[in-house]
Symmetry: C2
Subunit: 427 residues, 2 copies
C-alpha cells in the first residue's frame, strides 16, 4: 500500500554555482541569479519504496504519461546498469528532486545537464513511477516467435506473462502495442509526468528506445471511495465497482501476485501485479448521434446520476433481474452487466484508465477515447475472459475499437537500496 | 479586457425528469436518481462577452484544446445558422452550463442528448472559447488558388489575412495546418476544454468538420505579471518579455486591430486580433545531449534562474552589448536576442503557447514541442519578419522544426445577443 505523506518539495534552483554559469563564469558578471519560484506543497509526495509499487492502489492522479520501451541492447549488464540508474532517478523525482543533485545546471557548463529542467519549480505533485516488464524480455512469444532470450530470463517468465490473445473486433496496431519495459508515470500535473518519462528515456539512450507513449489527460476511475468517479468520453460514469485501495481482501485476491502463484524461478513477481493496457478508440461522433435511451441501454446506467438502470444512485447494486414487460431493464448486452463480476464468475480488476484526445484522425473526427489500464493477479484468468465476453457481446463494441494492447509484469515494491528488477535479474 | 468573476457553476444533474428516464419510464422504478457531485468554484467563470474576445488577454489557463475546422457546406445560411447556434452553446459552456439546458439527459429518451455529458459535475474552470476565421473562408488564397468565394466574403477579407509565407527550414504538414475556422478552448481542466470543442464539433455536423486539433498540456507563457513564467520542453523560461494584459498601451499598439487598419468592408475586425498558430516539434533528445553552455548560448538565458546571460534575474533587461574578451555574452544567434523587440524594430507579440507531447514519432523519440500561439494586430508586419529573422539565424533552429502553421482573424468580442461572426456576415 502506498501512502501520501509530506516529505520534500522539488528543489528550486540554485544560486551562484549553477545558474548563468556558462556565460557568467566567462564574464564574471553573473553568479547571483535569482531562485526560480517554487510551488511547495507539503502533502504531495507518494512514497516510492514499499511492499508494493506506487501507482497501483495510489489514489488515481489526474494526469498520465505512459511509455513503452524496446530494449535495443543485447547486453544484460547494460540493461541492469540502466535499471539501477533509473531507480535512483525515479526515487529522486518522486520526491520532487531532479534526476541527480543540481542536475539541470550543476554539472558545469561543458557537460549536458543531468536533468532536462522543465519541472524545476514544480512540486512533486504526487508523481508515481511504476515499472513493468513485457513478455519479449523473456525470449520468444507467440507474437514474436523469433525473439531470442537475450538476457537469459527464459526460465523466469511467469506463466501468465504471455501476449494477450486476439479478441473479436480487435484492430491492434503494433506501433501502439507491446514493448519490453513500460513506465507508467502519474501525477497531478502533466509536466511532472512528462518530465519523468523523458528523463528516464534520456538516461536510457543506447539501451532502450521509446516504442510508443500515451498521454492521458483525465483519470476515469477511482481507487479510493473518497474520489468521485469521473466521466469517460461517452459522458458516463464507468468502473464504479472498481477494486478500491482499502479493500485489502479484494486486493489480495485479485490484484497482488501470491508466492504460490509461480514456480520458484518466477517468484520475483510475488507482491507484484500484471498491468494490462488497451488503447480504446471511442467513436464519439456516432455515439453523440445515438438517443439517450440507446446510450443508457448500451451502458446499463443512467447518464445523469450514473445509477444502474432501475436504481437511484451511482453506488447502488445493479439488479440484473429487473424486467419491464418481460424485457430486462439492464439489457443482456449492456456493458455494466457483461463487465460485472456476477457475469464473470466473480472476477474483479483494479482499473486505472485515462481519457485521451490525440488530435484528429484525418477524417474529420477527434481521435479520442479511453486508455484502459488495469492491474490484476492473473491477466489470463481475469482480463482475458472478461474481454472475450465484452468483445463478443457488449453493445458498446459498436462504438469502440481496441487499437493498442500491451501486457507487463510489474514486480513488487522496492526495499531500501533495492533497484528496479533486482529480484528478476539477481540469481 | 476580460474579467474573471464569480457567476455560475456547471449545472449538476437533474433528478426525476432526466436521469434513468430511458429505463425508468418503462419500468416505473427509477426517476429519483441522485445528483452528480458538483465541484463548485466561485471565481472560475471568465466573461464570454465583452469588448474583446476572452482567451487573449485572459490569464493563461493551464490546458488547451485547439481545433481547426473546414467548412464543408457552400451554403452561407447553413454556416451563419451554425455560428448562431455555436454562440449560444459557447456562451453557456463558459458559464459552466451544458450546451442547452438539461442537455445531457433532458431531451427525453428517444433523442440524442444535446450535450455529450463528460463535463457534468465539473465547474467552469475558467473556460474561454475564442473563434477565428481563416483565409480560405474568403475565397482564393496563395495556398489554395482554386478556392471559390463560397460565402460572398471576398471584399471583407482584411489585407493581412493572407496565408503565412514559407519560412526557411519549414516542414509544414497540411494535415496539421490551415483551416476555415478555429476554436481555441482554454481551461484549467483538459476535460472541460475537450468537452467544449467536441460539443461545438458535434453541433457542426454537416457544416464543418475537424481538420486538425491539438491538445496542449501546459501553458508556456503568462499574460499577467502575477503568473510565473513556466518552462518549455527545453527546460527554459521563454517569452518573459511577453505583452501583459495590464499593458494597455502595448495591447493597443501590438494586439488589437484599429478602425483605420482596414477599409470599410473589413472593419468587422476592429477590436479583434490575428492568431498565429505554429506547431513546433522540439528535438528534445539532441537538445538533452547538448552541454549546459551550448543550451544557454542558444537560448541566451541562464537555465536555472531564467535570467538573461549577464544578468541576475528573469525579468532583468537583457544587455546585448555585454562582451567577454570581445565576444558577445548573448550570442548574435541567441534566441532571446533575435526574438527581442530591439532586434525587430520594436515589434511585440502576445504569446499564449502550450507544451505538447503527442506520443512517439515512430523512431524511438517523443513527439513533443511547443504549440506556439501568438496574437497580433498585423501578422504580416509582426510575426512574419520575426519568424524570418528567427528561421534564418536563430541557433535554436538546429533543435526545432515548424510542422504546422495557421493564421486566423479573431473578431472583436460580442455585445449582448450578438453572434460569432455577425459583423462579418451581416451587411
Amino acid at each position: 500500500m502506498t501512502d501520501t505523506h509530506p516529505r520534500f518539495s522539488r528543489r528550486a534552483l540554485l544560486g551562484a554555482t549553477g545558474a548563468g554559469l556558462a556565460a557568467g563564469a566567462a564574464a564574471g558578471v553573473a553568479g547571483s541569479s535569482a531562485m526560480g519560484a517554487t510551488d511547495t506543497h507539503s502533502s504531495d509526495v507518494v512514497r516510492f519504496r514499499g511492499t508494493h509499487q506506487a501507482g497501483i492502489t495510489t489514489p488515481v492522479q489526474d494526469r498520465l504519461h505512459f511509455a513503452a520501451f524496446d530494449v535495443i541492447t543485447d547486453s544484460r549488464a547494460e540493461l541492469t546498469d540502466l535499471l539501477r540508474r533509473w531507480t535512483v532517478a525515479a526515487d529522486r523525482m518522486c520526491r520532487g528532486e531532479e534526476t541527480v543533485a543540481g542536475g539541470a545546471v550543476g554539472g558545469g557548463p561543458y557537460r549536458p545537464p543531468s536533468d532536462t529542467g522543465e519541472a524545476l519549480g514544480l512540486s512533486p505533485l504526487s508523481l508515481t513511477l511504476t515499472i513493468g516488464f513485457g513478455p519479449g524480455l523473456f525470449g520468444a512469444t507467440a507474437d514474436a516467435p523469433q525473439q531470442q532470450d537475450r538476457f537469459g530470463l527464459g526460465d523466469r517468465r511467469p506463466a501468465c506473462l504471455a501476449e494477450l490473445p486476439a479478441f473479436p473486433k480487435d484492430a491492434i496496431e503494433p506501433s501502439r502495442s507491446h514493448g519490453d519495459i513500460c513506465i507508467q508515470a502519474c501525477a497531478d500535473d502533466p509536466q511532472v509526468a512528462v518530465h519523468a518519462v523523458r528523463n528516464l528515456a534520456r538516461l536510457g539512450v543506447g539501451v532502450v528506445s521509446v516504442r510508443w507513449s500515451q498521454l492521458g489527460f483525465g483519470r476515469t476511475s477511482s481507487t479510493t471511495t473518497a474520489q468521485a468517479t469521473p466521466r469517460n468520453m461517452f459522458g458516463f460514469k464507468d468502473g464504479t465497482a472498481n477494486v478500491k485501495a482499502d479493500q485489502s481482501d479484494l486486493l489480495d485476491r485479485w490484484v497482488w501476485v501470491h508466492h504460490d502463484d509461480n514456480p520458484t524461478a518466477a517468484r520475483w513477481m510475488t507482491g507484484g501485479s500484471y498491468l494490462v493496457a488497451r488503447r480504446i478508440r471511442m467513436y464519439i461522433e456516432p455515439w453523440d448521434r445515438a438517443s439517450l435511451s440507446e446510450q443508457e441501454q448500451v451502458v446499463g446506467r443512467s447518464k445523469g446520476s450514473g445509477a444502474p438502470l432501475g436504481a437511484t444512485a451511482e453506488f447502488d447494486t445493479p439488479d440484473f433481474r429487473l424486467t419491464s414487460a418481460g424485457t430486462p431493464l439492464i439489457a443482456r448486452t449492456a456493458h455494466i452487466r457483461l463487465a460485472h463480476p456476477d457475469s464473470l464468475g466473480g472476477v474483479r480488476l483494479l482499473r486505472r484508465g485515462y481519457n485521451f484526445t490525440d488530435g484528429s484522425d484525418g477524417f474529420g473526427h477527434l481521435d479520442a477515447g479511453l486508455f484502459f489500464i488495469a492491474y490484476c493477479r492473473d491477466p489470463q484468468a481475469q482480463f482475458v475472459p472478461m474481454q472475450h465476453a465484452l468483445a463478443a457481446k457488449d453493445a458498446m463494441m459498436e462504438y469502440i475499437t481496441h487499437n493498442g494492447s500491451a501486457l507487463f509484469a510489474c514486480p513488487p515494491g522496492l526495499a531500501a537500496d533495492e533497484w528496479w528488477g533486482q529480484r528478476l535479474f539477481d540469481d
